[in-house]
C-alpha cells in the first residue's frame, strides 16, 4: 500500500511526552543510527550516539526535555537536541505519546526489537 501523504504539520513541544513512532525502525550504526519509517518510506540519520539514546528513551520520560536531561546532554547543547527532535517530529519519525506507557507496536519483532529496547 502507498505511504500516506505528509500533509499534517507537526508542532513539536518538548514539554509533552513523545516516543519513537510505531512504524519507525532504528538501526544503530558506527556514527549513530539510521531511522526508517515504514509509513512514509523516509530514511533519516541520527548523527550522534547521544541522540540515539535520547530517541530510544523518549518513551520512558514524561517529556522530551526530561529525556534529553536524563541522557546527560550538556546544557549548552540542549537547544540543538530540541531542534533535532523537532525535525524528527516533522518527518513523523517520533510522535506525541497519548497513552503511557506505550505497549503496542505496529511491527512485529525485528526492526523494532533492537538491543536495549525490548
Amino acid at each position: 500500500m502507498a505511504p500516506p501523504p505528509e500533509t499534517t504539520a507537526v508542532v513539536f513541544d518538548a514539554a509533552l511526552p513523545w516516543q519513537r513512532a510505531r512504524a519507525v525502525a532504528l538501526r544503530p550504526e558506527p556514527f549513530g543510527a539510521l531511522v526508517y519509517s515504514f509509513a512514509t518510506r523516509k530514511l533519516s540519520f541520527l548523527k550522534s550516539k547521544q541522540l540515539v539514546t535520547v530517541v530510544q528513551t523518549l518513551a520512558d520520560h514524561p517529556s522530551a526535555t526530561a529525556a534529553i536531561e536524563a541522557s546527560g546532554v550538556p546544557e549548552t547543547q540542549r537547544a540543538a537536541y530540541v531542534k533535532a527532535l523537532a525535525d524528527l517530529a516533522r518527518s513523523h519519525m517520533i510522535e506525541e505519546r497519548t497513552s503511557v506507557p506505550p505497549t503496542t507496536r505496529e511491527l512485529a519483532a525485528g526492526p523494532c526489537a533492537e538491543a536495549g529496547n525490548p
Binding site: M1, A2, P30, F31, F38, R41, K47, S48, G110, E114
Partner: protein, 407 residues
C-alpha cells in the same frame, strides 16, 4: 559488527561517514532471476534466460531471514523480470512478514487486475513500472514492441485498484531526454510518482551506451529539470555526477558501491552495486558460510571500497566535493580508470578521457550473459531489426513537446 576502519571521523558530514561503510546496506538490490520476457537493449544485467543455479525458495527465505536480523529496512527487487519467478508472490509476502519492505521493479507483464488489487492491500510494498519512453514509439524501440502497452495497462490496473504512489521508473536516454515533462504528465495521470535513473554502460547497456547516453546539453537540461522538481521526482541518487554543474541534487551524492549499496544476483553472488556485475566487483556469495552478513561486513573488496579516495585526477578538481568522481561502474565499463573522471563528467573531463583511451585495449566486459539467444516476441527495434525508424524523436512522436525538438 563491521570493524570500524581506522580513521573513521567522529561527527562531521554524513557523506564522510558513509564512505567508511555501514553495518548493513541502506539500499540493497536483489535480482531474483535472470529470466525475462523482454530483451531491452540496455539491460544492466544482460537478462533473458533463467540461470539453473538461481536461489531456491528456501534459500531465498534464508536470505530474507538474514536481512531481517541485519535490519535491512527494505530491498529493491528486480531481475530479469522478478514476477516470472513462480514463487515471487510468496517471497514478497515472506519478506513483508519479516519486516523487510519490498520495492520491486517490473515491466508489468504479470500485473493483472487481481494482482493489482492484492498489491494495493499489502503494506510495505512499492511497485516500480519500467518505462523508457513517454510514448510507445520511443519506449518500444528500446524495450520492445508492445512493452509500452503492457506497462501502461499495469499502471491502469494499479490505479483502478486504488494503489497510490506507485513509481514509473525511467532510464534517461538521448531518445527520451526531451520527454521529461511528458513523463511527468503521464505519471501524474495514474497518480504515480516519477523516478528517473541514469543509463549505465553495464550489461547490454555497454553495446548501446555510446549512442543512447544523453548529450551534454541534455544533461544540463536534466539537471535544471531535476532542480526545479526537487524531491517530487525520485532519482535513486542516480545523477550525483550532475551536482558538479553547481547546486547539489537531493540525495547522498556519493558512489554508494559497497558502502551503502550492493547487489545480490539471482545465483546469490554479491556485487558492489547493481551496475557492476563483473568479477572485479564480486565480493562473495550468500550461499557460503556466514551468508550475506559476512560478505557485507568482511569482504576485502568492500573494505577497499570503503577507503576514501585520496589520489587520482579528480581529487585535484574544484568540483570533486560535489560529484566525488562520479559513477564507478560508468568508468569501469567504458574503460576509464576508477580514480579519474566519470565518462559523462559535466565539466567535460570525461570526453577528454574517453578520447584519450588506448584504442588497442577493449573496455572490460562482464563474463555473464543471460541474453536470449533467439528472437523474442516484441524485439526492440533500436538495433536495426526491422528497419530503423527515423532517429529524431520529433519525427516519430507528435506528442513530444517543442522543448524536446529544439535540443
Amino acid at each position: 559488527m563491521t570493524a570500524v576502519l581506522p580513521g573513521r571521523p567522529v561527527g562531521g558530514r554524513l557523506v564522510d561517514q558513509f564512505e567508511y561503510g555501514l553495518d548493513a546496506p541502506i539500499c540493497l538490490t536483489w535480482e531474483l532471476t535472470y529470466a525475462c520476457n523482454l530483451a531491452c537493449v540496455h539491460c544492466l544485467s544482460s537478462s533473458g534466460r533463467r540461470d539453473p543455479r538461481e536461489l531456491s525458495t528456501a534459500e531465498a527465505e534464508r536470505v530474507i531471514d538474514e536481512l531481517q536480523r541485519m535490519q535491512v529496512f527494505y530491498v529493491n527487487v528486480g531481475g530479469g523480470e522478478p514476477t516470472v519467478r513462480p514463487d515471487f508472490w510468496h517471497l514478497l509476502d515472506y519478506a513483508v512478514g519479516h519486516d523487510v519492505g519490498v520495492k520491486f521493479s517490473t515491466n508489468g507483464i504479470k500485473l493483472s487486475k487481481a494482482r493489482a488489487a492484492q498489491l494495493a492491500r499489502t503494506d510495505y510494498v512499492d511497485v516500480q513500472i519500467s518505462l523508457d519512453g513517454a510514448t510507445a514509439e520511443v519506449n518500444d524501440r528500446v524495450r520492445g514492441a508492445g512493452s509500452f502497452a503492457t506497462a501502461t495497462r499495469a499502471l491502469e490496473n494499479l490505479a483502478e485498484a486504488g494503489m497510490r504512489d506507485m513509481k514509473v521508473s525511467v532510464v534517461v536516454t538521448r531518445e527520451n531526454a526531451g520527454q521529461l515533462d511528458a513523463f511527468k504528465a503521464l505519471t501524474d495521470s495514474y497518480g504515480a510518482q516519477l523516478r528517473l535513473t541514469r543509463l549505465r554502460p553495464s550489461g547490454r547497456g555497454a553495446d548501446v551506451w555510446g549512442s543512447l547516453h544523453p548529450t551534454q546539453a541534455q544533461q544540463r537540461n536534466l539537471y535544471q529539470w531535476l532542480l526545479a522538481h526537487g524531491e517530487n521526482v525520485l532519482t535513486g541518487d542516480s545523477f550525483f555526477h550532475l551536482s558538479a554543474f553547481g547546486e547539489a541534487l537531493p540525495g547522498l551524492n556519493l558512489c554508494g558501491a559497497g558502502r551503502v549499496v550492493c547487489l545480490i544476483d539471482p545465483v546469490g553472488d554479491v556485487y558492489a552495486c547493481p551496475f557492476a556485475i563483473h568479477e572485479n566487483f564480486l565480493a562473495g556469495n550468500v550461499r557460503h558460510e556466514g551468508g550475506f552478513q559476512k560478505v557485507w561486513q568482511e569482504s576485502e573488496l568492500f573494505a577497499d571500497l570503503r577507503s576514501p579516495q585520496t589520489g587520482g585526477a579528480c581529487t585535484k578538481c574544484a568540483h570533486f566535493d560535489a560529484c566525488r568522481g562520479g559513477c564507478m561502474a560508468a568508468k569501469f565499463f567504458t574503460g576509464l580508470p576508477l580514480d579519474g573522471p566519470d565518462p559523462e563528467c559535466v565539466q567535460g573531463y570525461g570526453e577528454t578521457a574517453l578520447a584519450a583511451r588506448d584504442g588497442g585495449r577493449a573496455a572490460p566486459k562482464s563474463s555473464l550473459d543471460h541474453s536470449h539467444t533467439g528472437p523474442v516476441r516484441g524485439q526492440p527495434t533500436l538495433l536495426g531489426l526491422p528497419a530503423m525508424p527515423p532517429a529524431k524523436i520529433c519525427e516519430e512522436s507528435p506528442l513530444v513537446g517543442l522543448d524536446g525538438c529544439t535540443t
